[in-house]
């Protein structure tokens, strides 16, 4: 049996909407947040979960962390049913919600950490050891006496991570951890998560809107949409399906211009650099290069795939999300 086993999971919410006009009554609509979702995760895996807003990502995480009770299907983590054996289960997991804090706003973060020690009943020496490990890795040493409210967003996220890892969980859920962070903070965070996964063997399940997170961290990606699982596999596999457009930039030594190109190619000019959009399926890259070389001496040539975000947008569109 896998570490996490999810079978035919389903959850329906009743949404009460106020009627447009008059009447004290309310309309009830059923929203299927999840239906028939199944997957398995092995110990030590690092899995990314993407999908547009309302796809069911958060519902999945909330069920697996014991917050919500599903209506259908089953789920076990390490042999336990999260919502039935909540306390035993959450003792072994850590959860970071990107948009809400679990630390205390007005007190120095070290005080929050000491209270978490009390809550998770971490023995003293183990706590001290883990704390110094984490403060070093997350560069929190100088901030321990600072209240959370005085911290920047990046510092706050590092403190949150530290707080949710103090009890050395085997499984870590991250709900949009990089939201709102600046570039250096994102890079540092990804770096830390990769190390935590490799060195401690922590299983990590991450939901995000940021494809860079997935590309940098997750060998495996799951796509959810309308409460269903749409894709589960390697990121490269997902990308190759939608990666239909490429961009070439070319600059000639003597100011020459590109020759006539097949009709599926779009040519445009930025200064002395030419940009060509083409579809490899119709115009193979090798063929395009031969054509371009025929026009003159190429000084510089770059080829690139489409931006990952564009790919995802194309994918959501095709899946009618």
């Amino acid at each position: 049996m896998s570490y996490i086993t999810v079978t035919d999971l389903g959850k329906t919410f009743t949404v009460r909407k106020k009627r447009e006009k008059g009447g004290p009554g309310r309309e009830k609509t059923l929203v299927r947040a999840l239906s028939q979702v199944s997957f398995q995760v092995e110990k030590g895996e690092l899995v990314g979960c993407i999908g547009p807003n309302g796809a069911g990502k958060s519902t999945t995480v909330k069920i697996l962390s014991g917050i919500l009770v599903p209506d259908e299907g089953s789920a076990t983590v390490d042999g336990r049913v999260p919502w039935k054996e909540r306390r035993e289960h959450v003792r072994r997991i850590g959860v970071v919600f990107g948009q809400r804090t679990q630390l205390w706003w007005d007190v120095p973060i070290i005080d929050s950490f000491r209270l978490l020690k009390e809550i998770y009943l971490v023995p003293g020496p183990a706590f001290e050891k883990r704390l110094s490990e984490l403060t070093e890795a997350l560069e929190l040493g100088g901030l321990l006496r600072t209240p959370l409210r005085l911290m920047s967003l990046g510092q706050r996220m590092r403190a949150e991570l530290c707080g949710s890892l103090l009890h050395s969980p085997e499984l870590l859920f991250l709900d949009e951890p990089t939201i709102g962070l600046d570039a250096p903070s994102k890079l540092a965070l990804r770096d830390f998560l990769r190390r935590e996964n490799r060195e401690k063997g922590t299983t990590i399940l991450l939901t995000t809107h940021d494809m860079e997170d997935i590309a940098a961290l997750c060998p495996r990606v799951m796509v959810l949409g309308h409460g269903r699982k749409l894709y589960d596999g390697a990121l490269t596999g997902l990308l190759s399906r939608y990666d239909t457009l490429r961009i070439a930039h070319v600059r000639y030594a003597d100011g020459a211009r590109p020759p006539a190109l097949p009709p599926d190619c779009a040519l445009s000019r930025e200064g002395d650099t030419w940009q060509i959009l083409y579809h490899p399926a119709q115009t193979p890259t090798a063929g395009l290069l031969t054509l371009l070389q025929s026009a003159g001496a190429i000084q510089e040539l770059t080829l690139q795939g489409q931006n990952v975000d564009h790919l995802i947008a194309a994918m959501y569109e095709e899946m009618a999300l």
């Binding site: 909330k62 009770v69 809400r100 205390w104 998770y120």
Partner: protein, 266 residues
């Protein structure tokens, strides 16, 4: 034992957090004191005009007021997580962060907030209790002191239980329900006065549904040597158990409600 340790640890931390803004904290505590002082003044004005209420003297009334005030604001001080903060915990998603921790949910909700400004109200309640006791000429004995402690202690459990009704409804509706105030705040203002002055429906309400009569008035009346409904002395120690009973029932209901918890936001 571990639960108590956690609660004390949390209390200490929240106390430090609250007293960080010292001027503001002092001003608000003062405001609480003045507000509850106003309530006490109303009782004094009533006593000034009417002198007595049935067979209860002015001093007796002040004593009843003090017992209720201490009980209610002790609950608001120590149990703010249940008496006030819960709806916003549901709305802000803070409840989610409590659910992913390996401790009882009720413990954590109680550990999540306190309201130390209420010492302002408690000071007024204590003053009323002492003044009322003097004016009524109570001769304190150990059993009487114990009866008072038991009444106030178990009264806080009753009050917590009543506020839990609102929490239970809030789990389903996400909004806070003003109606429940009739039992909580309504119970407080009605039961500042001994229950036997009220007509039958109110007596039944505050004996059988929100049993402040059993938890506070029976022992308080016995302490004043004017037993309520002429009940025997032992009832002063037994009927307050209705408080923990209400609390346990509501705690059970809260557990059931949490199975339907649907979380909010993304």
């Amino acid at each position: 034992m571990r639960t108590l340790k956690l609660y004390l640890h949390s209390m200490g931390m929240l106390l430090r957090a609250h007293t960080q803004y010292r001027a503001s904290f002092a001003l608000q505590t003062l405001a609480q004191l003045v507000m509850e002082g106003g309530e006490m003044m109303a009782v004094l004005l009533v006593v000034n005009r009417f002198e007595r209420l049935g067979h209860w003297s002015g001093g007796n009334l002040l004593f009843f007021f003090g017992v209720m005030s201490l009980t209610f604001y002790l609950t608001e001080f120590l149990g703010r997580g249940v008496t006030g903060a819960f709806p916003s915990m549901v709305r802000s998603g803070q409840l989610d962060t409590l659910l992913v921790r390996p401790r009882g949910l009720m413990t954590q909700v109680l550990c999540a907030e306190i309201d130390p400004r209420r010492i302002g109200c408690l000071a007024v309640g204590l003053t009323a209790l002492i003044l009322g006791s003097r004016a009524s000429g109570i001769r304190w004995t150990l059993p009487k002191a114990l009866a008072l402690l038991e009444a106030v202690g178990l009264g806080t459990l009753l009050t917590l239980g009543l506020f839990l009704i609102e929490c239970v409804l809030c789990v389903y509706t996400v909004r806070s329900i003003e109606m429940v105030n009739a039992l909580t705040y309504g119970g407080r203002s009605a039961c500042q006065y001994p229950v036997d002055i009220y007509p039958r429906p109110l007596r039944i309400l505050f004996t059988a549904v929100a049993p402040y009569a059993l938890v506070l008035h029976v022992p308080a009346a016995w302490i004043l040597d004017k037993p309520l409904w002429n009940w025997p002395a032992w009832t002063a120690f037994v009927t307050p158990l209705a408080g923990p009973l209400v609390f346990l029932v509501m705690r059970g209901a809260f557990g059931v409600a949490m199975r339907h918890y649907r979380s909010t936001g993304s």
